[in-house]
């Protein structure tokens, strides 16, 4: 029962966050400074998530093994070069497989 309540509460709380600005902003334009800030939310939040997923595990610093770090870097460079997000996988996963095979 506890698990259902916990999952339900997180679901409700998360939806409240999703809907919060959809409700508050309404038909009003955002102040210019907030508008500038909103354009930086994506890069900042995604970088924070990637760094957390890459360099930590279960709440403590625990970097991924070297082949995975290289694969993530290769995936990033591939997308920068091609401008297509699919190349993150096309380049990243084979890099991981090859490095893992080479390093035993």
């Amino acid at each position: 029962m506890t698990a259902f309540v916990v999952i339900g509460a997180i679901g409700l709380g998360t939806y409240a966050m999703r809907a919060s600005m959809f409700v508050l902003v309404g038909a009003r334009p955002l102040p210019a400074r907030l508008d500038d800030a909103s354009r930086l939310v994506g890069p900042a939040a995604v970088a924070a998530l990637v760094a957390t997923m890459t360099f930590s595990h279960a709440g403590s610093i625990d970097p991924r093994p070297a082949p995975e770090l290289v694969a993530i870097a290769v995936g990033y460079m591939a997308v920068r070069r091609t401008g297509n997000v699919v190349y993150s996988f096309v380049a990243g996963l084979p890099t991981l497989w090859v490095l893992t095979a080479l390093m035993g």
Binding site: T14, V25, S38, A44, A45, T52
Partner: protein, 256 residues
Amino acid sequence: MTAVTQPDGIVMNDVSATRNAPVDDDVRRAFVEGARAQVPMAVGVAPFGFAIGAAVGASNVPVFAGWLGAPLIMAGAAQLTAVEMLDAGAAPLMIVVSALVINARIMMYSAATAPWFRDEPMRRRLLLALPLIDQLYLVNVARFEQGDLGRRERQAHWVGGALVLCGTWVTSQTVAIFFGAGLPESFGLDLAAPLALVGLLAMSVKERPAIAAAAVAGLVAVVGVGLPFRAGVLVAAMSGVVAGLYAGDSPPKEAS
């Protein structure tokens, strides 16, 4: 179609001015385009969904409660944290607070997305907010900023993408939880989520303020890994935004 620039620079196409135009085709096209744009994201979301489904299946959390997290929470990092903490017997309030702190970045996405739907009635806005998550926000707002989609096309683009993304998310978890889809570890599919996100990151950091925001956020996230309630992501994202604003204010150094 008449383009109307709003005070904050967002170009809103006045669809009412072309009421007799073949808007339905435009809407259909936008729906398909939105759905297609999320296919590469779904490629990353599916293995992440499998991994979380497998974690739910391997934990002591009731299977149906764990599965409900897929459609109700619709955010992988928070769901995984909740399952891990439930499995470890953490206090319920602490689990809820930790997961919501991880998801607090969604409120920032909400602020950035809301202006694009500001002309919709409240009930529709509440529905449009339901699937808001990293990939949907980043892909759609980047598309909206091109300024050639009207109100209805923006909605269609959003909904088309949401169906692909959310459908993949719930299906992949369902398969992993209820049908025990065992994926070989050697495939390295637990790397799919960071790879998908790093791809989005590469697409979104093109100008100096965004580069500064991402660099500072990444650094602060690593430094803040041990923060209570897993607040590192939120603190890092906010630090990154402030750094990006500062970088945008200061003039670029001239090449010597």
